[in-house]
């Protein structure tokens, strides 16, 4: 089946099986920033933005995304660069497998919430699991990105 959608600001046509997930479609087309951490929409490593909202690409069927606008980290390069700079400064990088997904959630958080509290940030990111870090360095980095004083 042919699906027309926008991927990172470019029109794309994908020929996919009806059962193919967006995660599979993206990785089959060399978009390696979306990761498969599980197969049950519960870890957050496959996060993408669909029309601006963070969603899990492992549980979206590509055929149902006709005319949608999909964003991965490749589509918001400058913002991800800023986030990653703060992650680096705070020592928030460890294995990194959750980082592209988390970056998209952080970007969406900035778009969707104004002046979020610490609890708001934690709640927004609760679906992006990280097993390495203990989350503290990430929160510091996120607050810097959101422009909060430390």
């Amino acid at each position: 089946m042919i699906v027309k959608l926008t991927l990172n600001h470019q029109e794309k046509r994908f020929d996919v099986d009806a059962s193919e997930t967006l995660l599979e479609t993206l990785r089959n087309h060399d978009v390696m920033s979306v990761k498969k951490g599980c197969d049950a929409s519960s870890c957050g490593t496959c996060t993408v933005l669909v029309d601006g909202k963070p969603m899990l690409s492992c549980s979206l069927l590509t055929v149902r995304l006709q005319n949608k606008h999909i964003i991965t980290v490749d589509g918001i390069h400058d913002e991800v660069e800023k986030i990653s700079t703060y992650f680096g400064l705070e020592g928030a990088d460890q294995c990194g497998f959750c980082n592209p997904g988390m970056a998209l959630s952080i970007y969406a958080l900035k778009q969707m919430l104004s002046n979020p509290s610490s609890e708001d940030i934690k709640t927004f990111l609760v679906g992006n699991l990280c097993r390495c870090s203990g989350y503290q360095a990430q929160f510091k980095a996120i607050k810097r990105y959101l422009g909060d004083p430390l």
Partner: protein, 768 residues
């Protein structure tokens, strides 16, 4: 120091977040055969008949492997040095299946759908056997989990498979029974620790292809690329020279990727079909068919006089290694060897016990490696003793704990499955860690509890811990530094970055020694063809062992540079001064920059490639130490716990990169809190894993952590690179005991079983 002990951003963090190809599956060939594994539905069974004819005939299926189609050679997947302290009790595929999820057969097909279809077409007739699911009943059980005759130990580890014993050990210093008789106070308690899942974010992943020289090229998400090469060679009878293992970025390991998981099957598929192949474990497979932490029953007796001076510690452990004996002996021994030396002033100490097989997911290496289990028991018992003696638990520890320049006889007695190595504590800032942590948590005001109203109590608890820095005389790391034209360097290391940041900190060590900056040191790690050897990322070895290798290589490089500069300046090499950028000599008016010298070496005169290799093995394993303090708020009625703060004060020598070291400690703390509070691998009565996804196995999320306070003690370990000890595991050890002690301080109930869930606390309260 200009680079070491500075907060340098991880050298690859940006590229990873920006989405560049980095992990094993990112490098799989586009046309790879998809490998899928048929797994046992039974906890214990013998395959009477297996028919794969229909699967083989399915269009798109390239290969089906059953136990009839693979080499039968016992090996261990443990991923340790050679000879391994783990029994060789595993076959690539076997006629027996020993846990729900054990491998029955494998298929390789053109796509996932076909592979799944083919799995369904394999007909298996099982003789279902009575499984051994209760590890306390495993010894001498009528079901023998490993009845096969061709399995063996590599050296004596107490391997008695006919009674379901994978390993056993006994050691005693003086006479514990006699000493306990003379004690005025004795604490005796039995503790249970559960299986914990590693739950790293990247599943176990491997892919393979043949290159133009017909060699097997494997990408693996492994912690031990050099062991992977050796073990594949041994298990599949392929010369090691025909195998190249590349470890790309690894998405977390925590010990789970020390072992081999899909490597054998994927290698066989590529060797047999000559086609690229790949296997990515499903999350269910990660939970069900990789590894867990060894569950243990720990019986502790601690005796003291009435002033609180410890006289004797007796520790008997029964450890559950699951279906295969990977890390059976060594994890169990570490529960003693990296806990008991903390109380080095006792008159007598005994450590003994058995490691048994059960029909459950195999247990293996897991951050802490036994120390977290032993720590929970001993550090809980120390608080029980303090309570009985009516002494502040911190004061009791200060009277009895190990201090700088002291030793413990246990270091010489207990090693990694063999004898240990005697050593003095050249650095041990445990006294500072305890005092500083006490101040940071506000112990004076908060111990033992405050009623904050609304049926809530706040309390504090603490524990101390030690770990190691590599395995003496066994772990080895090597590094090569190559000078390039334009005056920058390549650093190739066997050391394995699994997310802990070793590529970054090794670059920092090299840059410090070479008096340059990290951007002038290009790191490439863990490729068995291209980098020097390293045993891998385990046993908290990388900073200390591999770091020392890098340091030695850098010093050699400076000598080579000075010789080359001396030639250029036409002076004696002894007179050369080098500041990282330029060479000068008191014997010459002229100077030469590193850039000019390197360009001269490669383009103009006295042409020569400068390359220096350093290698290192430890003659001791200086322990990092820490004191962990927890503050909790607990609801008296529901026993619900909120963790308000966790204070860690750590002596890891010099933290090479303080922010990354802090990340190691805090990541360990949170993983340890998960184990202490709610993480649990659960089975049904038939031995089926119930906790097999992120919803049934909860790990800490952003909402579970309120505050972590982490500091480092000023400490300089002379034998480490720039004074460093290792720091990868120490963070995980204290949370179970600290939380248990805080619960006791709040409610007066002693938790003896992990995880300490509100339900279990509530039940204890009801019985109180």
């Amino acid at each position: 120091m200009k680079v070491v002990k500075h907060e340098i951003p991880s050298i690859d963090g940006k590229g990873i977040m920006m989405g560049h190809k980095a992990y094993t599956d990112d490098f799989a060939e586009r046309n790879s055969l998809i490998v899928k594994v048929l797994r046992s539905p039974h906890a214990f069974a013998k395959i009477k008949k297996i028919n794969a004819d229909h699967a083989r005939k399915l269009p798109g299926v390239a290969l089906v492997l059953t136990h009839h189609d693979v080499p039968r050679k016992p090996f261990t997947r443990a991923g340790q040095g050679y000879p391994e302290p783990s029994p060789h009790d595993k076959f690539v595929l076997d006629e027996y299946v020993r846990y729900v999820g054990d491998e029955v057969a494998a298929v390789a097909a053109v796509d996932e759908k076909t592979a799944d279809e083919a799995l369904k077409l394999i007909e298996v007739e099982y003789k279902v056997l009575e499984p051994v699911l209760d590890f306390e009943k495993a010894l001498n059980h009528e079901s023998v989990i490993h009845p096969e005759e061709d399995i063996h130990e590599m050296f004596p580890i107490g391997f008695k498979p006919k009674i379901n014993q994978a390993a056993a050990y006994h050691m005693e210093v003086k006479n514990v029974e006699e000493s306990l008789k003379t004690c005025e106070v004795v604490i005796e308690e039995t503790f249970y620790t559960q299986a914990q899942a590693h739950a790293m974010m990247e599943p176990h992943t491997v892919n393979a292809r043949l290159d133009v020289q017909n060699r097997l090229i494997i990408y693996s998400s492994t912690q031990t690329p050099f062991h992977v090469r050796r073990i594949i060679s041994q298990a599949l009878d392929v010369p090691m020279s025909r195998i190249r293992v590349i470890k790309p970025r690894v998405g977390g390991g925590f010990g789970g990727k020390q072992a081999l998981h899909g490597e054998m099957l994927v290698s066989l598929v590529t060797l047999r079909t000559h086609k690229p192949a790949k296997l990515v474990y499903t999350r269910k497979e990660v939970f069900e068919s990789s590894y867990t932490r060894h569950p243990m029953r720990i019986k502790v007796k601690i005796g003291a006089d009435k002033t609180g001076k410890l006289r004797a510690i007796d520790c008997h452990i029964l450890s559950d290694t699951g279906a295969y004996g990977e890390h059976a002996l060594t994890v169990f021994m570490v529960a003693g060897s990296k806990v008991l030396p903390m109380y080095n002033k006792v008159d007598a100490v005994r450590f003994h016990g058995e490691v048994v097989y059960t029909n459950k997911t195999s247990a293996g290496a897991y951050r802490g490696y036994g120390a977290i289990q032993g720590n929970f028991a001993v550090e809980s018992a120390i608080d029980m003793l303090a309570h009985k003696l009516n002494i502040d638990p911190i004061e009791l520890r200060k009277m009895n704990m190990i201090a700088e320049n002291e030793t413990s006889p246990i270091f010489a007695i207990m090693g990694e499955g063999t004898e240990g190595t005697a050593m003095n504590m050249d650095t041990c800032k445990l006294d500072y860690c305890v005092e500083r942590g006490k101040a940071l948590i506000g112990w004076h005001e908060k111990y033992p509890r405050q009623d904050v109203g609304n049926h809530k109590i706040r309390s504090v608890g603490m524990a101390i811990a030690m770990q190691g820095s590599g395995i003496p005389y066994i772990d080895m790391g090597a590094a090569t530094i190559k000078l390039n034209d334009d005056g920058f360097y390549n650093l190739t290391v066997g050391a394995t970055d699994i997310g802990q940041g070793s590529d970054t900190i090794l670059a920092q060590i090299a840059a410090e020694a070479l008096m340059t900056t990290v951007d002038k040191v290009i790191v490439y790690s863990s490729d068995t063809d291209l980098t020097p050897f390293d045993t891998g990322a385990y046993a908290s070895s990388t900073t200390y062992i591999s770091g020392n290798a890098v340091y030695k290589a850098a010093l050699k490089m400076i000598e080579l540079l000075k010789k080359a500069a001396a030639k250029a300046l036409k002076v004696d090499a002894e007179t050369i001064q080098f500041d990282g950028k330029a060479f000068s000599s008191e014997a010459s008016e002229s100077t030469i920059s590193l850039i000019d010298l390197s360009n001269r070496l490669y383009y103009n005169e006295d042409q020569e490639q400068l390359t220096a290799t350093g290698s290192y093995f430890g003659t001791k394993s200086p322990p990092p130490f820490m004191a962990g303090f927890i503050e909790i708020e607990i609801d008296k009625e529901t026993a619900e716990i909120e963790i308000l703060n966790y204070v860690s004060v750590v002596d890891c020598g010099t933290p090479i990169n303080p922010k990354l070291a802090q990340g190691q400690v805090e990541g360990g703390i949170v993983q340890g809190l998960g184990m202490a509070h709610f993480e649990e691998v659960k089975y049904s009565k038939k031995g089926q894993l119930i906790s097999n996804d992120w919803l049934t196995y909860k790990i800490p999320t952003s909402l579970d952590i309120k505050k972590l306070t982490t500091e480092f003690a000023e400490s300089y370990e002379e034998s480490g690179p720039y004074g460093a000890k290792s720091v990868g595991e120490i963070g995980i050890d204290t949370p179970p005991a600290a939380l248990g002690n805080a619960i006791f301080n709040a409610l007066g109930v002693r938790m003896t079983e992990l995880p300490m869930t509100p339900e279990k606390i509530f039940q204890k309260l009801q019985k109180k």
